[in-house]
């Protein structure tokens, strides 16, 4: 039984790697075929992003920054509450993010800090990142995990179904300095608005 499970996992891994190789080959020729592959409940897509291999860069291309994908599954916390923390650290450098999470009183902050530290270590060990501080949080979000259902007893023999909530947390670290958010002045915004009005055209006209 265990051998069969391992065998199935092995086959899945092979299939996964084949998928990735095909996608990479398609990308190299700059004509991506948009195949919609179905996702089963157990597929861990986020982690598979780490196994993506790019073709060697040409001399005149700018250096591609290293990317690290990391996640933690089935955290005993609410995805809505986790989202607030994930939103807070979006776009911060990793040191800043870890500092903020250290002094945040929420339960999810401790877990998120562990995940970030793990990801940092992974980046230095496996993903050829030179300086562990030279990373920033490119993407950070939470997702719904598999809930357990329990009965909540009310009066008069009524009952409700209680959900024991779990969530996943996903983070993507990229090497380099965090990108500065664009500060648009009010004059620029007004100019853009006027331009959008001027761009209006009548379709299907003579």
């Amino acid at each position: 039984m265990a051998a069969a499970m391992r065998g199935v996992g092995f086959i899945r891994n092979i299939v996964g790697s084949l998928h990735l190789r095909l996608q990479i080959l398609g990308g190299a020729s700059q004509q991506l075929s948009y195949l919609h592959t179905s996702i089963s409940l157990d597929s861990k897509h986020w982690e598979k992003n780490n196994r993506k291999v790019y073709p060697p860069q040409l001399l005149d291309e700018p250096r591609r920054p290293a990317e690290v994908y990391h996640s933690r599954r089935q955290i005993k916390y609410s995805k809505d509450k986790m989202w607030y923390l994930a939103k807070m650290i979006q776009g911060m450098s990793i040191d800043e993010a870890i500092a903020q999470l250290e002094f945040n009183d929420k339960k999810g902050a401790k877990i998120m800090k562990e995940v970030l530290l793990e990801a940092q270590e992974m980046a230095v060990k496996n993903h050829n990142v030179e300086y562990k501080s030279n990373l920033y949080v490119a993407e950070s979000f939470s997702g719904k995990g598999k809930y357990l259902k329990r009965i909540r007893y009310h009066g008069r023999g009524m009952f409700g179904i209680m959900d024991k909530v779990y969530c996943h947390y996903f983070v993507k670290l990229v090497e380099g300095l965090p990108p500065k958010p664009e500060q648009k002045t009010s004059f620029d915004q007004a100019k853009d608005y006027v331009q959008s009005l001027k761009n209006r055209t009548i379709i299907h006209s003579l």
Partner: protein, 179 residues
């Protein structure tokens, strides 16, 4: 001929029934819509009990009929409304700008708040001192009525420590614990 007689009879019946109805209404006094032809100052023919009891009932309604029974939502809150409430600026986690490295240990700390690492260090040493005191006393409620002083390796009690209880710790004096 027969049809005409029949219709006349029906009409007469109808009129008589209406008259009886009006008379009944007058007697019971329920036809308050009609204004009195003559305003006479005197006692009414029949006391109007029914109306009064009806008024009383309306003033003290049962709980189920009252408008202010229980507040309940009228409509389902749409996801747009929910999203604007949940993603409002004040609901976000605020970024702290008062974090600095501790000059003693190098870990991060908040301004004007004790460094967590240094405090943990002190707690550990204090726990060991307390353990030592517990061994010295040997039981509860045996604390002596004199002051206590903690001495580390290679230290002798000074003149001030003559009448104090001495707790010995077999290690070097930590840097943060001054004499």
């Amino acid at each position: 001929m027969k049809r005409m007689i029949f219709s006349v009879l029906v009409h007469n019946l109808r009129c008589s029934l209406l008259r009886i109805e009006n008379r009944l209404l007058q007697i019971t006094g329920l036809d308050a819509q009609l204004a009195p032809s003559l305003a006479v100052n005197g006692p009414s023919l029949l006391p109007r009990i029914d109306q009064d009891s009806q008024h009383d009932e309306e003033q003290t309604p049962s709980l189920l009929d009252s408008i202010l029974w229980m507040a309940a939502p009228k409509k389902r809150r749409t996801i747009e409304v929910n999203r604007t409430r949940r993603r409002d600026e004040r609901k976000f986690e605020k970024v702290k700008y008062n974090i600095e490295p501790c000059p003693e240990c190098g870990y991060l700390k908040q301004n004007y708040i004790l460094c967590g690492f240094c405090y943990a260090k002190v707690c550990r040493e204090t726990a060991l001192i307390r353990q030592q005191i517990k061994e010295m006393e040997g039981g509860p409620l045996r604390a002596p009525t004199v002051e206590t002083v903690v001495l580390y390796e290679g230290e002798t009690p000074s003149e001030q420590d003559r009448e104090k209880r001495i707790v010995e710790r077999p290690r070097k004096r930590p840097a943060w614990f001054s004499h």
